[in-house]
């Protein structure tokens, strides 16, 4: 699988990051190296192996449907870059 600048640009956009050209080159080279290294996994036959998503066999962990107190929004707005009138404010978003 080809790791190139175009792919890294695509990934950067997906993850909402941006790089200047020098950084892009550097990251592409590093990603190439890392990807080459992790591809050693392909030497292992995992044909009928089940994937592990959770290491412990836990199941059915539930919460009762009960209302607990919400947080005072002013406490959150204290850490917020911009808020007004009870809202978090962001630059105008054009509706989807």
């Amino acid at each position: 699988m080809k790791v190139d600048k175009k792919l890294v640009e695509y990934l950067a956009n997906l993850s909402r990051l941006e790089f200047d050209d020098t950084k892009l080159e550097e990251i592409t080279a590093q990603l190439k190296g890392i990807v080459k290294y992790v591809e050693k996994l392909n030497t292992l036959d995992t044909g009928d192996v089940a994937p592990t998503a959770h290491i412990l066999p836990l199941k059915n962990v539930f919460r009762k449907d009960e209302v607990t107190p919400s947080i005072n929004r002013d406490k959150i707005f204290k850490s917020s870059p911009e808020s007004d009138n009870g809202y978090f404010i962001v630059p105008r978003v054009i509706e989807e």
Binding site: E18, K40, L41, L44, V49, L56
Partner: protein, 489 residues
């Protein structure tokens, strides 16, 4: 010996006998902190608050197992009313409105938090060099790294600033700095300690654990933080043993395995020698030493970097400048995201987000993420099989002792490979502990013990038996008086 150089169990004994008061311990710790600032253990300290709290405890009957004990918390765990930075610029201005369960449990036992410790940004690193706030120095040699990512939590205890501390371990981030700083550092079984309030790096691997000067202290801290938490669906509802009372039972007849795959290429000769000697010591304690095999060990680093970065790429998506933390000005929302995240994250974090995004992206998921999850199953099976034959697996913690600052920062893969011995325990979810087993060129060497799920007690028992065979744990990296500056090595 200053009070701040004493162990928690010694201090608790003195408090119980009313030989000292909490404020005396705190004074000693804070005065040490004033002298050790250059090591940069902390991102933020709370000396006045801590002193006030200790003063209040002077007047009260002390009930908790950690009353009067100064502790340090890695700055990726939330404490209500305090900043939580994860050593990142992106969380600038964020104040946590709640307290992490593990921290709350320490507070409930009477511990006093003296500060939030430095770390690799979002716990991504093995040297505490990726912190936005600058790097932390190894107490044994200022030119070297303390390990990471919980470097500050390690140095705070090694320097006597805190009597104990909490770190988080995703691929070795407690055990490796414990090894490089000559401490006991324990990563509990996945699910033993609640992750609620721990800022997630890789959710299926992260676990909070203690740093301590010796095994008994580690047992006390582990007991305090363990247990089921309804706020963490992955925490396990199982009884927490009384670890401190079980450490002294000896290891006669215990089967200890030595996996041949951990002594191949890349291991430093002196490190290997120390570990081999330690294995002999364990045998002399009455343990039965056996060869075991963990054949998929060589795939652990690759598996880990796929799973950890994939989860991280998603976990770190929330730092976007919208609801809290840093925001860079922008005319539209997409630019706001991009500018904020690009300015807020350091290079290593960005690198891992890109890698994690890659392994999950359309067309690559099966080849990387799903493949890694399958190899994870094989690695888990390796351990299950080995623990059918032995009770404990002994290995080095790190292939080398502390390295020079800057030595590996240009080569991410080289840095990743320094975690080669610690990563498997996270993938398998098993508990593992590192403790000092000697010195090489003045730098501590770490011994790692691993056990089956929820067998922390046997780990601590083995570690304690080993500790009784030597006095490495009595050595202190920092000494205030000239005559004590001579170190033991």
């Amino acid at each position: 010996m200053e009070l701040c150089d004493k162990t928690i169990h010694d201090l608790s004994g003195m408090l119980a006998k009313k030989e000292i008061q909490p404020s005396e311990i705190m004074k000693s710790a804070l005065s040490r902190m004033e002298k050790t600032g250059e090591f940069a253990s902390f991102i933020k300290t709370f000396p006045e608050e801590a002193m006030k709290c200790a003063g209040e405890q002077d007047k009260k009957a002390l009930k908790g197992s950690l009353s009067g004990i100064p502790v340090a918390i890695k700055d990726n765990m939330c404490i209500e009313g305090k900043g939580t930075t994860c050593a990142s610029h992106i969380l600038e201005g964020f104040t946590a409105p709640y307290t992490a369960t593990a921290v709350q449990k320490l507070l409930d036992e009477g511990a006093i938090v003296i500060g939030k410790t430095n770390m690799d940004e979002f716990a991504m690193g093995s040297s505490t060099e990726t912190s936005f706030f600058g790097n932390t120095l190894n107490p044994w040699n200022k030119d070297t790294v303390p390990g990471g990512s919980s470097g500050g939590s390690a140095t705070s205890v090694a320097l006597g600033e805190a009597a104990g501390s909490l770190g988080s371990d995703t691929g070795g981030s407690i055990r490796q700095p414990a090894s490089l700083c000559g401490l006991v550092g324990l990563k509990p079984t996945y699910g033993r300690v609640s992750r609620y309030g721990l800022v997630a790096f890789a959710s299926s691997l992260d676990q909070i654990g203690p740093f301590a000067k010796d095994v008994e202290d580690a047992a006390i801290l582990l007991k305090a933080i363990s247990g089921y938490d309804a706020k963490d669906s992955t925490s396990v509802n199982a009884e927490v043993p009384d670890y401190p009372s079980q450490i002294k039972n000896g290891i006669k007849g215990l089967r200890i395995g030595v996996p041949r795959e951990y002594f191949l290429e890349g291991i430093d000769n002196e490190v290997e020698a120390c570990v081999r000697k330690a294995i002999k010591d364990l045998e002399n304690c009455g343990a039965e030493i056996r060869d075991v095999s963990l054949p998929r060990t060589e795939y652990a680093v690759a598996t880990y970097y796929i799973i950890a970065t994939a989860e991280a790429s998603s976990n770190l998506a929330r730092y976007d400048g919208v609801h809290y933390g840093l925001r860079e000005k922008a005319g539209n929302i997409i630019d706001l995201y991009k500018k904020t995240r690009s300015a807020g994250f350091g290079d290593e974090v960005k690198r891992r987000i890109i890698l994690g995004t890659y392994v999950l992206s359309s067309g690559y998921y099966d080849a990387y993420y799903l493949k890694a999850q399958k190899v994870r199953t094989l690695i888990k099976e390796d351990f299950s099989k080995a623990f059918g034959e032995v009770d404990v697996i002994v290995t080095p913690t790190s292939p080398t002792t502390a390295w020079k600052i800057g030595e590996k920062t240009d080569d991410p893969l080289k840095m990743y490979l320094s975690d080669i011995y610690t990563i498997s325990a996270n993938l398998a979810g098993i508990p593992a502990v590192s403790l000092n087993c000697g010195f090489s060129a003045g730098l501590p060497v770490g011994l790692q013990l691993q056990a089956a799920h929820f067998n922390e007690a046997v780990l601590l028992r083995t570690a304690y038996a080993f500790e009784q065979m030597n006095d490495y744990h009595k050595k202190r990296a920092f000494s205030e008086t000239a005559e004590n500056q001579v170190k033991y090595y």
